[in-house]
Each structure stands twice: as C-alpha cells, then as structure tokens.
Amino acid sequence: MVNASKPAARLIKLSAVLFAVGLWFSLFASPVAAETTNGELPFSISGTVSDSGTPLGGVKLSVTGETMTAPASVLTSADGTWLVGVPEKNADYVINLDVSSLPAGSSIVDDPDTVLVESEKVNVRVGPGGRVALNFFLGEVERNTTSFFDQLVARLINGLNFGLMLALAAIGLSLIYGTTGISNFAHAEMVTFGAISSLILVGIGLPLWLALIGAVVLSALFGWGMDSVLWAPLRRRNTGLVQLMIVSIGLSLAVRYTYQLFIGGNTEQLPGADTPKLQLFGSVSLSWIDVASMILSISLIAVFAWWLLRTRIGKATRAISDNPSLAAASGINVDAVVRVVWIVGSALAGFSGILWAYFRPGIRWDMGGQILLLMFAAVTLGGLGTAWGALAGSIIVGLLVETSTLFIPSDLKYVGALVILIVILLFRPQGILGRKERIG
C-alpha cells in the first residue's frame, strides 16, 4: 500500500465518482434531508461530500449549465448531503467544488483512476430519469493501491467472519424449521433482540462482558417466551405450516416496528466498535473485534455441536428433525425438546446479533431484517432443517457475499448470494446436505 508507506504525510485525495459505489449498507439508510437549492425545479442533481468516510458540512458547490439562467450554489448540510434543482433533463451541467470552502487540512489531490482527473470540476448529464447522483469522496483512496491478492485475502477473512456470524443465526433458524416446520421470518427480530438488549444493558452501566452475557440470557428468555406465549399454543391447535409461516411474518412486522418505536431510526454503537485495525500483511488488516468475533463464533459452534451430538436432548432434537412422529412414538417429549430448541436457537441468534452489530457496524431497529434473506439462503443452500447444512451454507454465503464485491458493485453484493440460492435450488433442491423425499 503506497499510502501506508508515508503515514506522516496524510494524503488527501479528492475523487468524484459518478454513480457512487455504496458503502456498507448505505443502501438501507433512510434518506436524510439535504441542503437544497432550486428545490422547486422538476429535475435534480444530488449527492454527498465526505472525507475518509466522514461527511463534510458547509462545503460550497455550484452548478452551471446551458439551460440554467444563473449558476446555482449550495452548501452541504451537516451530513454532507446536497441537492440542486435543475430545469431540464437530457442536458449537461457542470458542478464546481469550491476548494476554499473545504475544512482546514483537506485539500485536493489528483486521482488518476476516477472520473475527475485534474480539477474539482465535474461534468454530468441529467438523463431521462431526471435525477442524477454525484458524490465527492475525499481522503485516502486505498482501492487503487491494493493488489488483487490482498483484496481477495481481506475479503475472504471478512467473508469467513461474516459467514460464522451468519451461521450462529442460521443454525437456530434451521433447528426450528427441522423440529417444528416453521419458516420463521421473525428470526431476524431475535437477532436484533440480542443487539438491542446488549445496548440497553451497556446503557444501564454494566461492563461490556457482563452486558453481552446478559443479552444472550435475555435472548434465550425471549425465545422461551415466544414459544410459550405463541408457538406452543399454536402447536397444540395443530396449526398448518403455511399459517405458521404467515404468523411469523406478522410477528416479525410487529416486533420490528416495536423496536423502532423504542430506539428510533438511528444507528447506535456498542463500545469498542471503533477499535483500531491490526496490520497483518499488505493491506490486510483485522480489528480485535474481528478476531474475538471469529474465535467466539467458532467456540460457540463447537459447544453447540457437542450439545447436538453428545447430550440426550441434542440427540432427541436430531431425532425429531428426522421424523417427528417416530420420535414421539419412541417416547421423546417433543414439546419439551421444541421448547429447548427455541431457547437455544434464540440465544444463538441473539449472540449473532451482537456480532452483527460489531460487523456492520451499528445497531438499528431493522438490522436483523437485513440478513434474514441471507440466513434463509444459507439454510436452503445447506438443506432445510439440518444444522450442519446451515453452518456450511452460511460460510459459503458469507464468503460469496464478500468476495463478490471484487467483481460486482458492492451495492449488488447480496444479489450474487441470492442468485446462487436460486441456481442451487434448480440443480439440487434438497440442498447440499439434505435428502430427497418419497412420494405416495
């Protein structure tokens, strides 16, 4: 990495990228009010200005164009956003960034790899859509100086971390599916529950380690509560599977918006989310949080494996997944085992939520929903209802999501995983580790 070789001189680059490459989940962020000029005009150019990821407020931009009677200027808002209305579409405009309005310490440095080559002026065309996005990124631009190999290694490590985290959530989803047949859409909310509980426990002054343990315990209680209040009575009524699935969708909506009601639409951080990265080699770096997250995931999965393979109740769980009526006929108390599965699945999901809060990073009311489909993809990929399938599927999905950004725009990275899901179903509907069913 070129930049790292001279860290004393902080190199600031200005790069303006048409059709910006989205950052982590920026695509999910709700739109914020931008500083607006000529907002009454029908078409618009808008975007953000940021320095190393931090939004820059008060930066002056001006827009000129043949169709405009006078240049329009705008100051970016505190979150770096701006919008200028323009009178015509299918027309060209020039955007000029006023260097003198940049905060002290920021300056413009040429970036040969981006649209903007030698100046802070950018030409844009407002197309038939009538709107165009134009983002100015200032700061160190690492991607131009990182070798493909380094990027690949970094993505693989990230993907493994993400996959392990996903596995914790997906295993619970798969176990619940295996023992009860429910495609539990509310599993996403169990993930969010773990993260929010830890935030609340930290908020009331508990040390981090205690808060995390507490959050997992609360998650387990949450799972137990959901089972005894909702799912167990439905089981006793012999409710159909489709019905159960739709109940879980309703539950998911209700719980998700309840979270929003209480914590609002903002992103909150757990302590330690901004720990510095450790340089490994090349541009590959890891934070302590990443390392701890992977170690914890692996140990938890190991404990879970022991539980499932060696303990009595674990064996009973597998028996029920295999054939519920046979298990019941052999004297296994299905109801009790299913309750334990809800508790274990929920605790795993809650813990995964904490890791997810560090990985994203940040806690939001809909954070679980963001990975729900990936969980389903993982579970389906591995074969519905098998714990090991969910583990394998999750790691594949994690690696796929992360490495795909090397080839496709990062705001499409989930698309890759979801397309693979559909393709796998085409060729091996029972998943990697599942087995076929008999007709008749």
């Binding site: 695509l27 009538g130 709107r131 409710t239 159909g240 739709i246 969708i249 309703g250 009601l261 389903f376």
Partner: protein, 327 residues
C-alpha cells in the same frame, strides 16, 4: 382534535389509486395462493416491474404511455417464467424463499447506482406522467368534490383508469376461477400429485397461474406509477406482507375478498396513520411523538396479520369450510 377531518380523509382512501393498486396485487396473490396454493412472497417485485416498466418505457425509450404501460406486464411474464422454472417443481416453502429472494434481487437492481441513468437509483423516477398520461386527461380542468371524495381533474383521471383496470381484472379472474381451468388450479392447491395421476400437466397450470397473478401485480404497480413518482422504497418486502395481510383479511380463495380486504386494510391503515399522530399531538398517547405514533400502525398491521391467521384463517368473506391453510 379534528376527528371528523380524520374520518373524512379515511373514507377518501376507499377511492384512492393506491387502494386500487393494492387490490390488483391482492387479486393476483389470491390467484397465486388462494387458488393455486403458490406461496408467492415476491409480489412487491411484480409491482415494481409494472411501475418501472411504465416509467422507463416513457423516459428512456420515449414510448407513448399506453405502450409503456404494456412493458411492465411483459416484464412480469418473463420474471414469472424465470422464477417458476426452477421452483414450481419444488415444495411450497422453497417457492416462498425463492420469490422473496428474487423480489429483493429486483429491488437491489432498481436501487443500485450501476443502472442509475435508467432507474434513477435511490431517487427513483419522476416526470414520466406529466407530458404523457396526464396530458391525455379528457376531464376538464377543475376541482371535483363528492362528499369525502375530492380531487382535481388529474386525481379523478388516475382514479378512473385505475378503477377501470381493476374492474377488467376482477372480471377476468372471476371467469378464470369459475371455469374448469380454475377447478384444476384448486385441485393443485389441494394435492398436486393427485392431479398428476389424473393426467393434468401440473407444472403448466402452476406456471400459467404464476404468470397471470404476476401480470395483475404488475398492473398494480402501473396504477401506482400513474399517480405518483416511482421509488424503490415503495417496493420493499414489507409491501408484499401488507398485500398478504389484505388478502387474508378478505379471504384468500375468493374473488371479491381480496378487494374488500385491500379496501379495509388501506382505510384502516390510513385511519390509524392519521388518528395516532393527531392523538399524539393532543398529548393523549403517553408522550409519544407524532412520528412514533405513526409507527404504531405498522405494529398493528403485524398483530392483525397474526390474529387473522390464528382466529379467522378463511378471512372475512371466505367460506368457513374452505379454509385455505390445509398443508
């Protein structure tokens, strides 16, 4: 608090293009789920195709609005085929997961900056109506108010076209489900192996149902796009769930159930959406802010879905015996 005002605005929602749009989508879903037993969890994507097909047809290809309106249904047919080929041979819950995944793929494709010049990315598309569909409005300029139903000539034009499309769709679906074709569909819902053993090409029937329901969904998106801007945030997974709620509220295996369900769902939602903030601003909601109060409606939607499915699975208009949840 202006309770009468809230009530008036609520009743106005009965004739809102949005209500028509969701009725169309719910009708499509009724064909999918209520009659064919297909668990389509990706209705939002069909709607998005209808809306984007229309807007892109006008803005990018410069088509007349009535031709652009056909692009969405065409895209829906192709999308249904792509979805159906791998999944219609599989168990129902796979279809649910694949359709929800495919809908998310579509949304991300409309949202990505990669195709920004065509789709407008996160900003969506606007300005597709003003010189085209709205300009074709035969109603004389002015404000037309009939009791709680108010609007300019433009509002009524959109309502009229939306209502027209809905009426045609209802007739078509009614004919379909009351024909031998509809009977085969219901048979497939009950047990597709049995139908196979009777010599019915189950795959073809399911595909036809998926396509027709998908077209209805895309028409819903079209009606939405005729009245307002097109934005990717309108076609999130929650929208699919709302359509499901409306459908189950009315009764899945009926033709008029989805319509009634949609009207009831959207008016109640509008009512709560208007009432809660009004209550909050009067300080009657334990200090909740107006924004928080508006969110309560989503919680209530979720709870409603749970309660309907548990206590009245056949919906308001469904036959008590013809419970739709058999599997």
């Amino acid at each position: 608090m202006d309770f009468l005002g809230v009530l008036n605005s609520t009743i106005g929602f009965v004739l809102d293009p949005v209500t028509f749009a969701f009725s169309l989508a719910a009708l499509g879903l009724a064909l999918h789920f209520g009659f064919a037993g297909l668990l389509n969890m990706g209705m939002a994507a069909f709607m998005a195709l209808g809306a984007y097909g229309y807007a892109i047809g006008i803005l990018t290809f410069g088509l007349p609005w009535y031709l652009a309106a056909l692009l969405g249904p065409l895209a829906a047919v192709i999308f249904a085929i792509i979805l159906g080929v791998p999944t219609l041979r599989l168990r129902g819950d796979y279809l649910a997961i694949v359709t929800i995944a495919a809908a998310e793929i579509m949304r991300l494709l409309f949202l990505t900056t990669t195709f920004g010049p065509v789709t407008g990315s996160a900003d969506g598309l606007s300005g597709h109506n003003s010189a085209t569909f709205w300009a074709a409005n035969p109603i004389a300029e002015g404000q037309y108010d009939f009791g709680p139903f108010r609007g300019t000539e433009l509002d009524w034009w959109v309502r009229l076209v939306g209502f027209g499309i809905l009426c045609v769709a209802v007739v078509v679906v009614w004919l379909l489900v009351n024909s031998p074709w509809g009977r085969v569909l219901k048979g497939i819902r009950e047990d597709e192996d049995a139908l196979r053993s009777l010599g019915k090409n189950v795959f073809a029937f399911k595909m036809q149902a998926l396509i027709i329901g998908g077209i209805l969904g895309s028409l819903g998106g079209l009606v939405l796009a005729m009245g307002q801007n097109v934005n990717p945030n309108q076609y999130v997974t929650s929208i699919t769930f709302y359509i499901w709620t409306a459908l189950l509220l009315g009764g899945a295996a009926t033709v008029f159930g989805p319509l009634a369900g949609s009207i009831i769902f959207w008016t109640i939602q509008a009512f709560i959406g208007l009432l809660m903030p009004a209550l909050a601003s009067e300080g009657l909601l334990f200090g909740l802010s107006s924004i928080q109060a508006a969110q309560i409606k989503f919680i209530l939607v979720g709870l409603a879905l749970v309660l309907i499915v548990v206590f009245r699975p056949q919906g308001i208009f469904g036959n008590k015996k013809e419970l739709t949840f058999v599997k």
